[in-house]
């Protein structure tokens, strides 16, 4: 399957500051891909390069198999929600979206603009001035513009930043609905949100890729799991002797971590055996988690010395 987005040894500098240093990753067509990392990691620069707003100092960026700057007749059809880009105030929201829809090649630009505004559940903003919108409403209008022109790829930089919980949940619902329909690349500091939405993730730190893979690989789902125990005598030797278990650790707070060996049987079987062993010894189990949370993984791989 063709990659919707690919970065090959891409570098970018701002004066003497290195923003990206040999970044390589690929986004599969039809997937939802997360781009994460601490502030200054290079996420927004990566988005800027993918959208054609910035020029790479080296390496190759391909968007839907074409140069990201290509705006010719066979240009890649992608939508962008740029971070912190203001909506221009010279037209009302409806006129602005119609203008952008026309430029996006929509045959019925006004109808397309109304549909896009409906999708972000803000039809009442049609006649409003962008300057009169709250931050959350402006963000949703910006999201609406990214949907114009039926883009095959959506690049969304912090789509829920600054939104209240209800609006953020609505946007997440919208993004969930887009899964499979088109390729979505999301940058966000809300890692639990990304963990729920994305199939794959790239972790950036100091302008370099420090982790890249499917969400299951990055969070080690199926490779390790944790069991929260509250009482009883944990049979550590018995657990270590289970088939497919490579290592077992018990934290002072009662978090039991089991890591599986590469040749382990299916993780469900190992989990069942481990739980059976614990319950047989009268150990109370309160929670079971497969893998680490994305947040924990990002903290691990971007840990400061």
């Amino acid at each position: 399957m063709e990659d919707a987005l690919s970065f090959e040894r891409v570098s970018k500098r701002y004066g003497s500051t290195v923003a990206l240093d040999g970044v390589s990753f690929r986004v599969r067509s039809g997937s939802c891909h997360g781009l994460v990392g601490p502030n200054g990691a290079g996420k927004t620069t990566t988005f800027g390069l993918a959208a054609g707003f910035l020029r790479a100092g080296g390496g190759t960026v391909q968007v839907l198999g074409r140069e990201p700057h290509d705006r010719g007749p066979s240009r890649p059809r992608f939508g962008v929600l740029p971070q912190d880009a203001e909506l221009p105030g010279y037209l009302d929201v409806g006129a602005l979206l119609t203008y952008w829809a026309r430029l996006s090649g929509e045959v019925r630009p006004e109808a397309a603009a109304r549909i896009a505004l409906d999708r972000v559940q803000l039809p009442e903003a049609w006649d409003a001035s962008p300057r009169a919108l709250s931050h959350g409403m402006a963000k949703r209008v910006a999201l609406a513009q990214s949907l114009l022109g039926e883009p095959a790829l959506l690049l969304l930089d912090e789509p829920t930043a600054g939104l209240d919980p209800r609006a953020a949940a609505e946007v997440r619902g919208l993004l969930s609905g887009l899964r499979g329909e088109r390729t979505v690349v999301i940058s966000s500091h809300n890692l639990s949100e990304l963990e729920r939405l994305c199939d794959a993730v790239t972790v950036l730190d100091h302008g370099k890729v420090v982790q890249d893979g499917s969400m299951a690989e990055v969070t080690r789902r199926g490779v390790e799991f944790s069991i929260q125990v509250v009482r009883g005598d944990v049979p550590l030797p018995e657990l270590r002797a289970l088939s497919g278990v490579a290592s077992v650790d018990l934290s002072p707070r009662g978090l039991l971590s089991l890591r599986l060996s590469p040749d382990a049987p299916p993780s469900e079987d190992v989990i069942a055996a481990a739980l059976e062993a614990l319950l047989a010894r009268g150990v109370r189990v309160t929670a079971l988690t497969q893998g680490s949370s994305l947040e924990q993984r990002v903290l691990d791989v971007t840990a400061r010395p």
Binding site: A51, R71, G79, P82, E86, L87, P88, Y90, L91, L103
Partner: protein, 277 residues
């Protein structure tokens, strides 16, 4: 979307934006007031000169024209057909037009780059269309203002000196407008260039005004010495006088303004095409 259609869509919206802008309205009023005041002053001077009798009036008119536009005999001969008011007021308008152009459009690109709003546009339109659309919208507004000034002036001129044939006034008016229009396009392109290479409205305003001052300095200072005299041809101001006469000086001025406009626009496009936004 074809490049031309895209350019048209951007131009139309930018034109709508420019016309609806309160700043445009304020500048229009200021320009109209300035033209009216200059016209009144020009009218007073004309009446004063003409009250001295035909010969004295001709001599005084020639002195004034020489003072403002240089002592070129062909220029004096051609402009003597017109009421003195017309070249005086139109010359003053053209002299201050670059400032009007700067204030109208200094932030056409830089403000959108600074706020990031240009990204919404750049993701779906060629940068050449964005630049071209903004340039064309500013040029259309400026050229319309100039046409209104020419119309008002020549209507006043026809009342002042009805002995000149209406066709003569029409020819002069059209010539003045075409010359002024190309001059205006060169300065609108300079404003586009200033706005395309800077990242904030304040920086583009400063750069644009500095360039205007540099052109004025180039014309004045370079002409002061024979060794540097050739440099004055690099200033658009040098070609201002040619707008008022027919023949080779007029053609030279038009060619120069077309070249300046093309050069500034090409520079703006080259800078905007590759810059980070």
């Amino acid at each position: 979307m074809s490049p031309l259609l895209e350019l048209w869509v951007v131009t139309r919206t930018e034109l709508r934006r420019t016309i609806r802008s309160p700043r445009t309205l304020v500048l229009l009023i200021l320009f109209a007031v300035f033209t009216a005041v200059t016209g009144l002053l020009g009218g007073a001077i004309t009446r004063g000169v003409e009250s001295q009798g035909p010969e004295a009036a001709a001599a005084a008119g020639a002195s004034l024209i020489a003072l403002f536009f240089g002592g070129d005999p062909s220029l004096l001969a051609q402009l003597s057909d017109l009421p003195l008011l017309l070249p005086l007021v139109f010359g003053a308008c053209l002299f201050f037009l670059p400032l009007y152009v700067v204030l109208l459009g200094y932030d056409q690109l830089s403000a959108e780059v600074a706020s990031g709003s240009v990204r919404h546009l750049a993701v779906r339109a060629r940068r050449g269309s964005i630049l071209g659309g903004k340039f064309l919208a500013q040029a259309v507004v400026t050229l319309t203002v100039l046409a209104l000034v020419v119309l008002a002036l020549f209507a006043a001129g026809a009342r002042l000196r009805p002995v000149v044939e209406p066709v003569g006034y029409l020819t002069f008016g059209l010539r003045f407008w075409i010359g002024g229009a190309l001059l205006a396009c060169a300065y609108v392109a300079l404003t586009s260039l200033s706005s395309a290479v800077t990242a904030s409205p304040a920086a583009s305003l400063l750069l644009n005004l500095s360039l205007l001052f540099a052109f004025w300095l180039l014309k004045v200072m370079a002409g002061a010495s024979s060794t540097t005299e050739v440099l004055r041809w690099l200033s658009p101001l040098t070609y201002l006088g040619g707008v008022f006469v027919s023949g080779p000086p007029y053609a030279t001025s038009l060619t120069a303004y077309v070249c300046f406009a093309a050069l500034f626009l090409a520079g703006a496009w080259a800078a905007f095409r590759i810059r980070d936004i």
